[in-house]
Amino acid sequence: MSNIPKADELFKSIDYTPPVTGWMETPVDFSPGHWCYPAKPEKIEYMESKLPGLWGPARQWLPSDADWKLPPNWKETVVNGFRERLKKFRTLQLFMDICVRCGACADKCHYFIGSGDPKNMPVLRAELMRSVYRGEFTLAGKILSKLTGSRVMEEHVLKEWFIYFYQCTQCRRCSLFCPYGIDTAEMTMMARELMHLVGLNTNWIMEPVSNCNITGNHLGIQPHAFKDIVDFMVDDIEEVTGRRVKAPLNEKGHEILFITPSGDVFADPGIYTFMGYLLLFDYLDLDYTMSTYASEGGNFGSFTNNEVMKKLNAKMYAEANRLGCKWILGGECGHMWRVVHQYMDTMNGDTQGPQMTTPKSPITGTVFDTAAATKMLHIVEFTADLIKHGKLNLDPSRNDHLRVTFHDSCNPARGMGLLDEPRYVLKHVCNHFFEMPPQTTREQTFCCAGGSGLNTDEIMEIRLRGGLPRGNALRYVQEKHGVNLMACICAIDRATLIPLADYWAPGVTISGTHELVANALVLEEGEVRKMDMRQEPLPGVEDEDDDWTPPNMEEA
């Protein structure tokens, strides 16, 4: 990160003037910092053994090399794969044909806003594929190549795909503004599927994918280590609350299977959210279990290809069946919920066991018909329902040292529509809540610039540039309202928003929503907390005599 310019300098370097050369003639920068490391060969070999024929040759290579060691028949593979997907995905076929290049999407992409690189305009990102579609598959494109913006598949075209389709986080903001609903996320998914066929991949995605298949989670945490970590968190919860919570793992015969992204088990500040779940469930005496085998809510398969997405997702129902659970409760995660909401039932619904039923809150009796097919409920829906029924004793003043805003993750916002429930929960657990500007929240929310498997440090400058719109909106509420914490409902956000905030709005910390719920949750009448879930002393308790502490006196 040392060679990344300061925020002000980077901001000044953004220039929206297009280059003098046409986009097809403008060369692509393959220097380090513009790409993620390719997958280690053993990861690809493992995936080839599990899902043969989708991965191309496993090999050592670098995008900065002149020779990417593509297989000899790569062109045929990509073009045939393209043709096949035109028939398998109406989105792809239609989006190749109907774009009018009106440019409405151009300044909607966070990577374009932060970089000014015209190939980060969604329209041009898609043209990288469309030009090949016209040149290879349409008569007009074959005859009038230049005039219609057509070209055939060449090595430099494929290399350009690798750079720019790993500079799209599949956030779908462009698709909201497109008059035809053209969704760049669809094209990015297709382009990545095609690149996998000839062995173009990134380790940041493929290592979690292969880990997830083997160990049940992206981080490769083995079952006994998973249990150790959970036990450690149980100790920490006791330290904060004095309560020894239970944390059932792999137990049969419970009503609910709880699955959350493994990032929350592993890293600060996700762990505090995880502790929040454990505390809440114990408080409710919920009949649930977690699983080490299905210990991953996220699905990096969705950044890879539809086959892996399905294979990794299939564990959820498989484990619910094995353990005899009636329904699944899902933790805070972005792309996990895109997969659960829009893909899971279609992909794996037929593997649900007969014991599975529509989620019903055992505490309030609410039946969640909106999840009748998937049998899977979002934790924020579950908690919002508890609050609505007055089942939680909450003391929001325990979060009074926090001035909170909320970052809508792309996937729950534009691939689901979960917007008001998290705000409802937050407003019940903290007294100081402020919205960022409306062009940057809800369905218009901006990506953390690390989604879809791009949350790796080797492209940090690209991420920080893409993080400008979110970071600047955050800075706005920081200056206007003294916001010092941004809550979210996404594990990738909890990792990526930290460097983003440090860079664009220093002084703002990041947390999950259920961390704040846990802070506010009064376990028994008269319970006094001396510290928050992070074991930081609550303002005012260090000195018992001081009965008033000015709000916002210290950084969270």
Binding site: L94, D97, V123, K310, A314, K315, Q342, T374, A384, P469
Partner: protein
């Protein structure tokens, strides 16, 4: 350059019928053969493309959600029924607004960067493109509908109605139609935007300028016929009715401006199915807009779902990690998996 090529090409297209009719006397070629051929190309090409789309599978239900979904408590969390439809009827209304009011385009914003005690990224509503597009599309649509008077006898009442409303200002003789002006203005605005805005210019091909110049030429030739050349409308109707009743006849009173207009329209029709103009039928099929957001409540079938893709089996997982799992006190389905290998071997 792309714009210039397109403009020159349209000029060339204007010259073809002028030469063909005046010098080469190919009146029935330009009056009957070319328009009929172009119409057939349009029809077949259009239908072929739509069928191609329709035959492509819709494996997943992936609407772009533009608002709050249907919650477990619709009173506490009211659903945004237009932007996040959950039923067929709600989706229908979303589509109606998309197709007839360009709703997504209406949402458009423009980003600008400023420095004011540090970086500021500003967004402002930007409805120009929406306005230009609405002006252009509705004018074109009404102009096309008005042309029905040439192909139907008796003339349907709504065509009279349209003509009345369209000419309500009663400027000039023959009365000026608002949509004639709207069409030319709309094209010029869209064209101007494509020429002047550097970002839009950068993404424009010849195939983006050509349809605009072509439609402009169609409109101007039509306007010339009606307001300046004042062509013999009865003779034209004789020809057009001949086309629809398959009694082809090119009356002598028809003059060159008509042939130019019809030729340009023919080019537009023949070009349509192979171009971006297919966004017209395409918008109806867009999977991110025309599907309800209901996959958590209703099963959607993927026609090419592969049931052979299954989860990594738990039994294999337990076989691999059984020993440390047993040590950590995690329950096992098969206790044998928890026995260390050296003991098992012994």
């Amino acid at each position: 350059m792309n714009a210039l090529y397109s403009l020159l090409f349209v000029f060339l297209l204007v010259l073809i019928p002028l030469f063909g009719v005046d010098a080469a006397h190919l009146r029935s070629i330009f009056g009957v053969c070319i328009p009929m051929t172009a119409f057939i190309i349009f029809l077949v090409g259009f239908i072929y493309k739509v069928i191609t789309w329709a035959r492509s599978a819709v494996p997943f239900r992936i609407p772009t959600t533009g608002g709050q979904f249907k919650s477990f408590d619709p009173v506490l969390f009211p659903q945004n029924k237009l932007d996040c439809p959950q039923t067929g009827a709600q989706t229908f209304f979303r589509m109606v607004l998309e197709v007839f009011a360009f709703r997504s385009l209406f949402r458009n914003t423009a980003v600008s960067l400023h420095e004011n005690n540090g970086p500021v990224v500003a967004y402002k509503s930007s409805k120009w493109l929406w306005l230009f597009a609405i002006t252009f599309h509705y004018s074109f649509f009404i102009v096309a509908l008005r042309h029905l008077r040439l192909f139907l006898e008796p003339i349907p009442f709504f065509v009279h109605g349209l003509e009345f409303v369209d000419g309500i200002l009663q400027i000039g003789a023959p009365t000026m139609y608002l949509t004639d002006a709207g069409l030319v203005l709309g094209v010029l605005l869209l064209l101007g935007r494509r020429l002047i805005n550097p970002r839009i210019n950068y993404i424009s091909y010849a195939s983006d300028f050509f349809p605009l110049f072509l439609i402009l030429a169609v409109a101007l030739s039509g306007i010339y016929m009606r307001y300046y050349a004042k062509v013999d409308i009865m003779a034209i109707k004789e020809l057009t009715m001949g086309l629809v009743t398959f009694h082809y006849h090119v009356p002598d009173a028809i003059t060159a401006p008509f042939f130019v207009h019809v030729f340009l329209v023919s080019v537009l029709m023949a070009y349509f199915p192979f171009s971006k103009l297919m966004h017209m039928p395409g918008v109806f099929l867009s999977p991110t807009r025309n599907m309800p957001n209901d996959t958590r409540a209703k099963h959607h079938v993927n026609p090419w779902n592969d049931p052979k893709i299954m989860a990594h089996a738990y039994a294999d997982y337990e076989k691999e990690f059984g020993v440390p799992m047993a040590e950590a006190g995690l329950p096992l389905d098969n206790p044998e998996n928890g026995v260390p290998h050296d003991e098992a071997d012994a």
